[in-house]
């Protein structure tokens, strides 16, 4: 019971931290579970996927009212992410744990160096004649009209994002949001809301595989999902001012340390 409470507390911190840094909690919760708490990585991934679904559903409930989610674009890209998620989930559940740990070390490095590089004012394209839509900006009150560019590249990136989600139990927003803003040229607010909607469906698809194969265990998944959800919920109240680059630098170092530990675990067991 103490272990569950401890995990619950850690998960609250991770949920708040993930929201604060603008990245999913999975990149923190999986190394904490495997390196610090000595949980087998496939069980850690199962718990992470469940918490990804929980936060995506909660965020969806909030975003839905704003009409920020481009649900048509989301559905088109979901064909790619769910395909990737199935492949990733099937491969991961029958893969050697050490390979997964090595792969995870790699994604930690990518996240550490990608963090904070995304400019919120990336130009959106305006209507393009493909999947054109609009939303009311909640801050400025203006109606923002936009379309989609380079759908093919977006589909390719979505297969990769879905594959990573299934393989490693992360949301994949770290790939999708930059691709949507920088390549497909849709506004950041719409990209984040749409990515959040997709993350739940993608994680749900691979979570079904992990659950069927016994890698979603209540003693890990329940405290993790509830904790991350609560943490992500309190973050908007406490985290708004903590966005300085110094804080981000500290957590970049934390991610790199985690990566080194995961790599060590992969090589030495």
């Amino acid at each position: 019971m103490l272990f569950e409470l401890e995990l619950f507390g850690i998960a609250i911190g991770v949920g708040a931290l993930g929201g604060m840094l603008g990245i999913g909690g999975g990149v923190f919760i999986i190394p904490i579970l495997t390196v610090l708490l000595h949980v087998p990585i496939k069980l850690a991934i199962g718990a992470s996927l469940v918490s990804v679904i929980a936060t995506s559903s909660a965020a969806g409930a909030v975003y839905a009212g704003h009409g920020l989610t481009h649900s048509k674009l989301a559905m088109v890209l979901e064909i790619a992410t769910t395909s990737g998620a199935i492949a990733g989930g099937l491969i991961a559940t029958s893969m050697n744990e050490r390979w997964l740990e090595g792969l995870f070390a790699g994604i930690l490095i990518v996240t550490a160096f990608g963090m904070g590089r995304l400019k919120p004012d990336a130009e959106s394209s305006g209507p393009t004649g493909r999947l054109d839509t609009s939303f009311l900006d909640p801050v400025s009150g203006a109606r923002v009209r936009y379309g989609v560019r380079h759908l093919g590249i977006g589909m390719g990136a979505s297969v990769a994002a879905g594959g990573l989600s299934g393989l490693l139990g992360i949301g994949g927003g770290v790939i999708k949001v930059p691709i949507m803003t920088l390549v497909m040229r849709i506004p950041l607010k719409a990209a984040v809301a749409t990515s959040n909607f997709m993350i739940g469906v993608t994680a749900g698809t691979s979570a079904i595989i992990y659950f069927s194969r016994g890698y979603v265990t209540p003693y890990l998944a329940v405290p993790t999902a509830l904790g991350v959800l609560i943490g992500a919920g309190i973050e908007p109240r406490v985290g708004r001012r903590v966005r300085s680059s110094a804080v981000k630098r500290i957590f970049e170092v934390v991610l790199v340390v985690f990566a080194a530990q995961m790599l060590w675990k992969a090589l030495h067991g």
Binding site: V50, M75, A221, V222
Partner: protein
């Protein structure tokens, strides 16, 4: 919630009504999952033992529920949570059907069939 009621719906109003309905379904599904998971923690805390190490299959969930055991609560909560995105996709299909948007009915149905495929492939 107010969008659920009203008179003389235009096509876009109709669409928004369905969106609102899906929204409510999501809140109820997610909320129920949350309550079940909290209940599971509470029961295991009162009984002074940890949460179960292994989740139940569907048949076992029904059996455990009949005996009010924490294993059933935790597993049922997890299954509900995992199936919430599936419900969301089903809701989107209904929304596109109402909007008479055949192309997106097909696209969304393809996504749903991929999710069902993962259920079948996961068993193997």
């Amino acid at each position: 919630m107010a969008e659920l009621w009203g008179s003389r719906p235009s096509p876009s109003q109709e669409r928004r009504r369905i969106d609102a309905l899906v929204h409510v379904v999501l809140l109820v599904g997610g909320g129920a999952a949350g309550v079940l998971l909290c209940g599971a923690i509470l029961v295991s805390f009162i009984e002074r033992r940890g949460l179960p190490r292994q989740a139940d299959g569907f048949a076992e969930i029904v059996r455990s529920l009949a005996h009010l055991q924490p294993a059933g609560l935790a597993s049922l909560g997890l299954v509900l949570l995992i199936l919430t995105p599936v419900a969301r996709v089903v809701g989107s299909i209904v929304a596109f059907v109402v909007a008479k948007d055949l192309r997106y009915v097909l696209i969304t149905s393809l996504v749903l069939s991929l999710m069902i495929a993962s259920l079948l492939l996961g068993q193997g």
